[in-house]
Amino acid sequence: MSGSPGAGRSRIVTWAVVGLCLGLAGALAWAMLDLPAPSTRLPGQVAAQLERSGVEHPVTAVLLNFRGYDTLLEIAVLLLALLGMLAAGVAPRASAPLGASSMLAALARALAPLMVLVAGYLLWAGAFRPGGAFQAGAVLAAAGVLLRLAGFLPAWTRPGAALRMALAAGFALFLAIAALGLTEGALLRYPEPSAGALILAIESGLTFSLGLILAGLFLAGPELPRREDGGGTP
């Protein structure tokens, strides 16, 4: 096959692509080395406004106050991705039965409550140190995946109404609080004295829904046959 003209042509294409990508890497490096110093000092601006944001950690302040739009749209995109996955659907086939080994089941039993605790701590800590809704949601989702692997959680073939509402709750709450800002003059403008409390409320909703959505990315699928000896009751 290396002697055929098709293989020769594909080799030329390969080297051309490699050359172009190397060129792109070089151009990117040159652009970055040539970049002038930023004309606005964002860290300084963030630090100057931090007191008014309602939280003490700059990243959380940026995420949920200064650049709240991004976070609002992000949770919408996540919801959309999960809806897309559920809409694409997966026919049940070629999947090994899920049945937890007793070790995994024991580990999941021990870890899942701890992970919920850690998620709660991360959510709370986000106000004044690294942490926040995303990290907490990721830990919650990991707990969901672990429980699924251990056979304690069913797959989501068709999420029921309650689950669908829970998935959308974080986005809906965020949107409602953002709309509340309209009374202050602009979307996402929090009334200043209660900004901290509002951000905590948004983050709690986000953590809950993010955890469910991220876990759903893994859990969405056909119900798999379960081994009788694995797991226990959910």
């Binding site: 990508c21 990117l28 970049l35 860290p43 940026v62 995420l63 991705a81 893994f218």
Partner: protein, 109 residues
């Protein structure tokens, strides 16, 4: 050269590497991985350039935090679509492309 700039340059290299993989590999799983490598490169550029003068900039960090979560969701959606394609066509390649002879073997060689 500051450490931040070094990371940014590394991110540029990762981006190009992922792009090459995305173009050259017909297998959809490899394309999705290539796309993720590109994304990681972009995140590294953002965070690296944000801290090139030694002070970490919280704005790009927050952007990247958002981006990572979106990337996870996009990857999951891509995987679901690829799996759907596998069910419908029996193959994990885009229409019009086909695995080169020996692709499956030299993919892990």
């Amino acid at each position: 050269m500051s450490l931040g700039l070094f990371y940014a340059l590394l991110g540029g290299g990762l981006f190009a590497l992922g792009l090459a993989g995305l173009i050259l590999r017909p297998h959809l799983l490899a394309k999705i991985i290539g796309f993720n490598v590109m994304g990681s490169g972009a995140f590294l550029v953002l965070v690296g350039l944000g801290s090139r003068d030694g002070v970490a900039d919280p704005v790009p960090q927050a952007m990247v935090l958002t981006g990572i979560v979106v990337a996870v969701a996009a990857t999951a959606l891509a995987l679901a679509l690829a799996r759907r394609l596998l069910e419908l066509s029996g193959d994990m390649v885009l229409p019009g492309e086909r695995l080169r002879p020996g692709e499956d073997d030299d993919a892990d060689a």
